[in-house]
């Protein structure tokens, strides 16, 4: 096995309107099995993926948000949310369904620059 790489999944899309958020999460779970250094970044409408209280019965679609709470069990603990994206949407850390690290825009940019592989869907 080659060296461990830094993988970052950048989530900038809202859930349900399109399938990207769900299928992105599927890759994250698989990546965990490869023993790589995995982090998730949430910017722009991607922060809505982490909003508490999602109820999808009325749109006949699977609510995949509880999966974010299960990431811990896969040793995926690096969840980063951009502060400005939260603020612009009137959200705070207390609105999110999982523990995250809030970074300001410059810290987020710096972290992206340190990655080996950046995946966005």
């Amino acid at each position: 096995m080659s060296e461990i790489k830094k993988f970052m999944f950048v989530n900038r899309k809202a859930p349900y309107g399109t399938i990207y958020a769900l299928e992105s999460l599927e890759v994250v779970l698989i990546t965990a099995a490869f023993d790589q250094d995995v982090s998730l970044a949430f910017l722009d409408d991607g922060v809505y993926q982490l909003k508490k209280g999602q109820q999808t019965k009325g749109i006949d679609t699977k609510n995949f948000s509880p999966t974010f709470r299960a990431l811990d069990g896969y040793d995926i603990e690096k969840l980063y949310v951009e502060k400005e994206s939260l603020a612009l949407r009137g959200l705070s850390e207390a609105d999110l369904l999982v523990d995250v690290t809030v970074l300001d825009r410059k810290e987020m940019g710096k972290l992206m620059g340190q990655q080996d592989v950046v995946l966005s869907f």
């Binding site: 990207y20 299928e23 890759v27 698989i30 099995a33 790589q36 592989v117 966005s120 869907f121």
Partner: protein
């Protein structure tokens, strides 16, 4: 240099498959290796041999097949995304194979650069 490519959108609907193909072609012309192209989301629709564009249009699916045949590019279609969208072994174009998401992660590990094309 070894490149991995990800295509997230279907052919004809969005430019991403064209952009990805032209990138691959240019990379190969420059002497680089395109190790694998991974098709995900609606990108799996690039793999159906049932595609029949009008005669005066490019054949996006055949173009990918040719790239696999001539340059040994590994064209991998995500199984979960493919089954969701009705892409199966029986309608797969030449050069494509259906496999798991692990192949995408492996692309990130094994290649020098992973370039994503999508919407």
């Amino acid at each position: 240099m070894k490149f991995g490519i990800v295509v997230n959108e279907g052919p004809y609907q969005h430019q991403s498959s064209d952009s990805a193909y032209l990138f691959c072609k240019a990379a190969i012309e420059k002497g680089h290796e395109v190790w694998r192209v991974f098709f995900y989301h609606d990108g799996v629709n690039n793999a159906t041999r049932l595609t029949e564009p009008p005669q005066d249009d490019r054949n996006i699916v055949n173009r990918w097949s040719k790239l696999a045949e001539e340059h040994g590019v590994d064209l991998v279609v995500c199984v979960a995304a493919a089954l969701r969208r009705g892409i199966r072994d029986e309608n797969l174009a030449p050069g494509f194979r259906i496999s798991g998401l692990g192949q995408l992660v492996e692309s990130g590990i094994q290649t020098d650069r992973l370039v994503v094309f999508g919407d």
